[in-house]
């Protein structure tokens, strides 16, 4: 009976789309059946920079079943101006336009699309397209690119420049205890399970329905409208299910552009799916170099922070991330200076990947903090507590909440940190060196204006809808719970629609703002339904609710009843019947509002975490096993502890992956990523993942967002790689400052002869 407690906000219900997913009924972008579908196969270029001289497609065209070969030579018109090709989250610069002209900007660039009646024919014919090139000098070596390091005057909208305080140079020079270290992160590709794919349905009247792998259907719709000069009302983009994305689906990818181009030209439905190899020819986490210099008093009081970083971008767009600000915000330290720039290489533009900037910058900062703790001879957790700050040190603002201290305490307790011995290599067991490491995680708690509709039918069935996306994060479930919470309906009576550009406006799914934002929008919409229901109920004959205010009633178990006397109430279906209402339909928009905007100016809003890691390293062979992880997270109110835990588990696995596995290896002679497949681009497998414990510390925060929710999609990865690296140092006594920490970096005589 007590439905509210069972399914509403805070309850650990199963994800509502789980059954569809495990039974294969959830359809992904390349799986929607369309009669008379054509298949497009992308031909990828071989050189990193230069010009296509000849593109020979006659052999391909001669294959029976081939309908067209699209290239720069015969492509239909697309918008001329760069701004028409910019999507909502594009960084400054000139966006890549596939098949636009003969110029090659990066290796693997699409140079043709072969369209045929069957996939097999398209694939075969694609292998017959021959290109010759005029090669120009290129550079993909990020270390060399440092010579071209710069900071453009036009910044990305999401970029926050570091704000310096005190005199970091003087403080560093004077510090009795100091460390200075350079860190490097290899390029990583998102590699979600589902490859980028689009199925474009030609509706006959010139309008299009596009099933796309994206994190933002309205972003794709508006982008396509701009590129092809179409009215947005003639394009409907659908992404009801997305097989992971991690940021790779924030921007429209070139397969959707190609598929729509082909569909419009041929006036047929077209599907284009990237290969796994082609997943290495677009966005990636930028390669990064970070230099951290830290100073402290002998007692461990931090006195100087100098934090400088460079990340890679392409030659045609300037992608930027917030890399250096995190440590400057987090620690009490009077003198801090940050500096950040980008350096161009001849690859596709780097793009946001789970916790962009923080996953890189906070990880390296936390590795440096560990070094400083050791230089000062202080336990690394104690060192962090000693330099704890209740306020945002960089912006000089309070946080809406910061329960990091509680996260440290609860994490340390669960992990057994107090049993750690400080000296490296001091916790050996048999041939295994045991190491315990700690690090801090930090991410934004953002809120983004979002709309949602709610529609209650006479039979008590509720549909809530928003153009939000669920990239595996649990948006369907969050929306269900927000609705159940407000209207007290059982889950079976609630249907959620999302992943459709024609639904009420929602931002792209990224930045961990979706749960807080769409949850608030659904709550608002459902509240508006509730108000209408109550006023109808009050008008019923002999209504037990006559004159009752919203505060005086409770929606629960499909009924509206007085809080003080739950026996007195009416069923929602009864209210609908009595008032002769077929349907109540509303749409509401959740925005920060005036008070929220003022709060955003005056206060910092962040999630925090404390990560504790145990590694076991074979002394002789350098084989690392991450045997235990505790991640204690302070993220405000938790909508669903089960899906929330899954988000953190995934983040931790990705952090372990960043620490030990992921690396896109480039042959700089060819300017090409070489390990472009799942066999050689390594992510952890089951054997690499052991015990992961997730703790959510209590952090009530009514101010941060309307629901008090902070979001969890990204915080799980931030700092995790640092905790692993710090644990490896504790185990082996060796500081490895280049991620990933592969076996070659640990097999040496300093670890064991």
């Amino acid at each position: 009976m007590n439905v509210l407690q069972n399914v509403g906000i805070g309850s650990a219900i199963n994800r509502v789309d789980g059954l569809q997913k495990v039974t294969g009924r959830a359809r992904y972008a390349a799986e929607h059946p369309v009669p008379g579908l054509l298949h497009g196969v992308i031909v990828s270029g071989a050189i990193p920079k230069g010009r296509i001289v000849t593109l020979e497609d006659s052999e391909a065209r001669a294959v029976p079943g081939v309908v067209e070969v699209l290239s720069h030579k015969n492509r239909p018109h697309v918008a001329w101006f760069d701004r028409s090709h910019k999507d909502m989250v594009a960084p400054p610069g000139s966006p890549f336009k596939a098949l636009y002209d003969d110029k090659i900007l990066f290796s693997g660039q699409p140079i043709a699309l072969v369209i045929a009646e069957s996939f097999e024919v398209a694939r075969y014919a694609a292998s017959l397209v021959r290109a010759s090139y005029e090669v120009e000098p290129h550079n993909t070596d990020f270390h060399k690119a440092q010579a071209e390091r710069f900071m453009p005057s036009k910044k990305r909208d999401t970029y926050h420049p570091p704000k310096n305080r005190g005199d970091a140079d003087a403080a560093f020079a004077a510090a009795p205890v100091k460390v200075s270290a350079e860190y490097h992160l290899a390029t990583e590709h998102h590699n979600p399970m589902e490859m980028h794919a689009s199925t474009v349905v030609w509706e006959g009247d010139g309008s299009l329905t596009v099933f796309d792998k994206t994190q933002g259907p309205q972003n794709v719709r508006d982008y396509l409208a701009g590129v092809f000069g179409m009215s947005a009302s003639t394009i409907r983009v659908m992404n009801p299910f997305v097989g992971g994305a991690f940021g790779s689906g924030l921007r429209p990818q070139y397969q959707v552009y190609l598929a729509v181009m082909a569909a419009r030209m041929l006036q047929r439905s077209v599907r284009v799916v990237m290969t796994r190899q082609q997943m290495f020819t677009h966005g990636h986490r930028p390669e990064a170099l970070q230099s951290v210099q830290l100073g402290a008093e002998r007692d461990g009081t931090m006195t100087a922070i100098r934090n400088s970083a460079t990340t890679s971008t392409s030659r045609y767009e300037n992608n930027m991330e917030d890399v250096v600000i995190w440590g400057m915000m987090n620690y009490a330290c009077e003198n801090a200076a940050g500096e950040y720039a980008i350096a161009p290489v001849d690859t596709a533009t780097s793009t946001d990947m789970r916790a962009p900037g923080a996953a890189t910058g906070m990880t390296f900062f936390e590795m440096a903090v560990d070094e400083l703790a050791y230089a000062a001879g202080i336990d690394p957790l104690e060192f962090r507590l000693k330099n704890y700050s209740e306020t945002d040190q960089m912006n000089g603002t309070p946080f809406t909440s910061k329960a990091l201290r509680e996260a440290y305490a609860e994490g340390a307790e669960a992990f057994g940190w107090s049993r750690r011995s400080q000296a490296p290599r001091s916790m050996k067991e048999g041939r295994e060196l045991v190491g315990w490491g700690v690090a801090t995680g930090m991410w934004d708690a953002m809120f983004s204006k979002t709309s949602a509709s709610a529609r209650l039918s006479a039979n008590g069935h509720l549909e809530v809808a928003s153009a939000a996306s669920d990239i595996g994060t649990g948006t369907y479930t969050v929306m269900t719970q927000a609705a159940a919470d407000t209207l007290g309906l059982p889950v079976e009576q609630i249907a959620v629609r999302l992943g459709d550009s024609s639904l009420p406006k929602a931002p792209v799914e990224g930045g961990s703002w979706m749960a807080a934002s769409v949850g608030a929008a659904v709550q608002l919409a459902c509240r508006s339904v509730a108000e209408k229901l109550l006023s109808a109920a009050a008008k019923m004959q002999n209504s037990p609710l006559a004159g009752a205010s919203m505060e005086a009633v409770r929606f629960s178990g499909g009924r509206i009843a007085l809080r003080d006397d739950p026996a007195r109430g009416v069923a929602i279906t009864e209210v609908m019947r009595a008032s002769g209402t077929d349907v109540i339909a509303v749409e509401e928009t959740a925005s920060a509002g005036i008070s929220g905007m003022i709060s955003q100016m005056r206060k910092s809003r962040n999630t925090h975490s404390a990560i504790f890691v145990e590694v076991r390293v074979d002394e002789e062979l350098g084989v690392v096993r991450v045997t235990r992880v505790v991640n204690a997270v302070a993220a405000g109110r938790i909508i669903n502890p089960k899906t929330a835990r899954s988000q953190i588990l995934g983040g931790v696995v990705m952090g372990i992956s960043m620490a030990l596995h992921e690396e896109s290896m480039t042959d700089h002679r060819y300017g090409r990523f070489m390990n472009h497949n799942y066999a050689e681009y390594h992510v952890p497998v089951n054997a690499d993942i052991h015990d992961i414990q997730v703790i959510f510390v209590d952090e009530p925060d009514p101010e941060v967002t309307p629901l008090g929710v902070k979001g969890l999609g990204e915080i799980g990865i931030v700092g995790t790689a640092a905790a692993v690296a710090n644990a490896i140092f504790h185990a082996t006594g060796k500081r490895v400052r280049a991620l990933p920490i592969t076996i070659d970096k640990l097999v040496d005589d300093t670890v064991a002869p």
Partner: protein, 337 residues
């Protein structure tokens, strides 16, 4: 992927008859061949499906030992009771490779003939002498952390990726083949070859020859063996370095030693001198070091893979210790024994 004809052979003679063309490929489990066809690396004009030719059993050989049919799956081989009891080294090596799904599909004949995982071999936009003879070797001077440190040539520095074959080399297996010219047997050491100036040939199989079986001699190394595989994650990755060791112990002394290395050369790497140096000697750290030194004599890095030399030395030492102590490396518990 290109167009090809497809025939299904119902017997070995039929397969051999159909398989005579230079551009013809036998299709077994398809876990390697189909991948390579999708990448346009293999472009056969004809495929001959051999899954119905028989050769699907494991039998006792008349004079002792076991005969493993070429079409028996890797999984069925590893979990066969006779293999697990009498040739645990082979079972361990198979289970160290790929994933359960792949081992269910992969066959013994296919495993022997699987091709290198060199990145350049797989990427038709780059040069590769093995894929397109005469185009050059992309890996030399390129990304080569997975490449050979032994037996490489200026034409090719690829490695043989198989785990199973490392054990078969150590066990002195024999490969049985049938071709247009009849049947023959190839000692395992002669089956795979070094790249030399013809890296397009991985092995000494002649055009149209079908592997029918792998014979295991009647020898017992079950008490002292190990397969130690080091890779970039704890499972489901190819070996950076692997070591198969089989020892016959007499008390504390090694009566006979077999050591084969994987992941370091174009074929499973054995050095008779290293094995002889251990014969009759106590199982001591110095002797293990000496064997490692002999095994790795002439080893040369290519830059990114320089670390393999040190890693191989340590791995050999450790594997010999594991085998001598009778504590083989578990293929499920990832702690190194």
């Amino acid at each position: 992927m290109n167009r090809f004809s497809f025939t299904r052979a119902n017997s070995v003679p039929e397969a051999v008859r159909a398989g005579g063309g230079a551009d013809t490929r036998f299709l077994a489990g398809g876990t390697n061949l189909i991948d390579l066809m999708k990448e346009n690396v293999e472009r056969p004009s004809a495929l001959v499906d051999i899954n119905r030719v028989g050769l699907a059993g494991i039998e006792e050989r008349p004079g002792g030992g076991l005969r493993l049919g070429a079409l028996v799956s890797n999984a069925d081989t590893a979990y066969d009771r006779r293999v697990a009891e009498r040739y645990p080294l082979l079972a361990c090596a198979i289970l160290a490779g790929a994933s359960p799904q792949l081992r269910n599909a992969a066959t013994n004949g296919g495993n022997l003939n699987q091709r290198t995982r060199c990145y350049y071999f797989y990427d038709t936009a780059t040069p590769c002498n093995k894929r397109n003879p005469g185009t050059g070797c992309g890996a030399i001077g390129g990304v080569n952390r997975i490449h050979a440190i032994l037996g490489a040539s200026p034409s090719c520095i690829a490695t043989n990726p198989s785990d199973m074959c490392v054990a078969l080399a150590a066990l002195n297996a024999t490969v049985r083949v049938t071709g247009p010219d009849g049947e023959r047997e190839i000692a395992f050491a002669d089956y795979h070859r070094l790249p030399g100036d013809a890296p397009q040939h991985d092995n000494t199989l002649r055009t149209g020859e079908l592997v029918t079986a792998i014979d295991l001699p009647d020898e017992d190394f079950s008490a002292h063996h190990t397969y130690l595989k080091l890779r970039d994650r704890l499972s489901y990755a190819f070996a950076l370095v692997s070591v198969a060791v089989a020892l016959r112990m007499e008390g504390d002394r090694i009566a006979e030693a077999r050591i084969a290395l994987g992941g370091v050369a174009h074929k499973p790497w054995r050095v008779p001198a290293a094995e002889q140096a251990l014969a009759g000697q106590p199982a001591s750290a110095e002797n293990f070091d000496r064997a490692a030194e002999l095994l790795l004599r002439g080893a040369q890095g290519q830059g990114h893979n320089d670390f393999k030399i040190g890693l191989a030395r340590r791995a050999i030492r450790r594997a010999l210790r594991q085998a001598a102590a009778g504590t083989p490396q578990s293929q499920t518990d990832k702690r190194i024994a």
